[in-house]
Symmetry: C2
Subunit: 297 residues, 2 copies
């Protein structure tokens, strides 16, 4: 399940909690498009803002409505004990894989990060995707640390942050990492703007925010990369540049994707868990203009 | 309660959870020394690693054993809904004040930070200390943002990060902030190495990690500052430089203070919640040497 397009949907909220109806309508878009896997309760899915009970419920709903597509959920939390409880819940919910960030409050030492993955890996029975997102978790991984973690049981994939915009540097980045990892470990790129480069550089999978709302657009790019049609990959990724620009302007993708989902009528305007807020009306209009120009709305 | 020495104790754990006996022995040192207030479940008290139930229990224990000293607890969490639940729990436990960090996962915009404080301030009935600790929360405050927040109901104090090591710059830092705040707002310094400078620069209170384990040492420095004996403040803070050096060497104070508590027989060796780990045996020996040289052990 750690290849192709892994689509990361929002988990929309409304005034009373998780907006299950909206969540299911987002899921339906992904199952209809037949994405390769679902990355539920990722950063885009706001796992870090929900209670254990809410995460259990969303995991269960996702498995029930995945139409056979494998579901991965994040079990991230600051505390190892809580991560182990979340892993148990996710396993009971019937997910196929666990997404595991090293969320920090006190900045973790390298030994603490390794010890954390070792303890969790030893205590679960599902494949783990190591989730490296320093912008949110404030944990950094060296290639050596990746390699030590990849040698643990149950480690199946590594989700790396965006690769360089320069294709030569992107290729070097991925091949240097590949050289240090066991052959069976999948490497996945995130940071949608660099997904094209990441896939062309040899990443196995795109862990995609864009794919969580616009699965056909993300699938087209992914399939072009899988077919080796690099001209098409470059063309499609460049065409989406106005979307990537919005992501950069708003401190990441989540507020833009939340606005886009609302503009499509797929979630309420205020669909992010507070303290996160919807973009201003003016910025929402800019998102709508970009969506129209890219034929995403 | 927002003046003098506010002592921030560890919340030690053991293999089965919160180590209540050790926590109470730490509290007893602080009540015997008669610190001015207790900052329970601060960053040093590992609030970010505990469940709601655990935090409720620790808050209740603290109030029961505070010997009349006012207790402040952190109600920090990434989600506003969870913060409101924690505020309710803390109020039921009988605490005197709430410590409120803006913990981020997705980096918060200034409007989100302000909106967060506004929503919480509106929904509580106790004084709030605004907690600014960018090293753990990754939220930054401008003086303008402080001023907007300070104008909200229930805001009583602001806990600022360390002030500059240069005394002239420290004084400028504090007076510039003071000029923008209502007169009744207390300013508290944290970052133990700069506490002397902060107090001499006019901060009302020292939110102190060192004071959570070595209350008499921290009280002596605080009382010297309150008496205007700045030569004694400088002398005492410089004397403690080997301790501040250890804090810097180990990415902050928490692992050093946890080791010191264990070396004093006040907590188990592994008293931090995982994934945090005890210092190595070699580093523990260095902590012991420093404690002995400073007559702290």
């Amino acid at each position: 399940m750690f290849s192709g397009l892994s689509a990361f949907p929002l988990t929309p909220v409304n005034a009373t909690g998780i907006d299950e109806k909206s969540f299911l309508s987002l899921l339906a878009r992904l199952t209809m498009a037949k994405v390769d896997s679902l990355g539920v309760l990722g950063s885009t899915g706001s796992y870090a803002y929900f209670t254990r009970e809410q995460r259990k419920r969303v995991s269960t709903l996702a498995v029930q409505h995945a139409d056979g597509i494998p579901v991965m959920v994040s079990i991230g939390a600051t505390s190892t004990d809580e991560v182990l409880r979340l892993a148990e819940d996710a396993q009971h919910a019937g997910v196929s894989a666990l997404l595991l960030p090293a969320v920090s409050y006190q900045k973790l030492t390298e030994e603490e990060v390794f010890g954390f993955y070792a303890e969790v890996a030893r205590n679960v029975s599902l494949p783990i995707c190591v989730y490296d997102n320093p912008g949110t978790t404030h944990t950094e991984f060296s290639n050596d640390l990746y390699a030590r973690i990849a040698a643990l049981p149950n480690i199946a994939s590594i989700k790396i942050p965006g690769v360089p915009a320069d294709m030569h540097s992107a290729a070097q980045r991925v091949s240097a990492l590949r050289a240090q990892l066991p052959a069976e470990i999948s490497i996945g790129v995130s940071g949608d703007a660099s997904a094209g480069n990441g896939l062309m550089a040899g990443c196995d999978v795109w862990y995609s925010v864009c794919g969580g709302l616009f699965p056909n657009t993300a699938l087209a790019l992914t399939r072009a990369a899988q077919a080796g049609d690099f001209a098409a990959v470059v063309e499609q990724s460049q065409r989406l540049e106005p979307l990537w620009t919005l992501f950069r302007q708003h401190g990441g993708s989540i507020r833009v994707i939340a606005a886009a989902a609302a503009l499509l009528g797929l979630a309420e305007e205020n669909n992010l868990p507070r303290p996160l807020r919807a973009l201003s009306s003016e910025h929402q209009r800019e998102v709508l203009q970009v969506m129209r120009s890219l034929e995403l709305a």
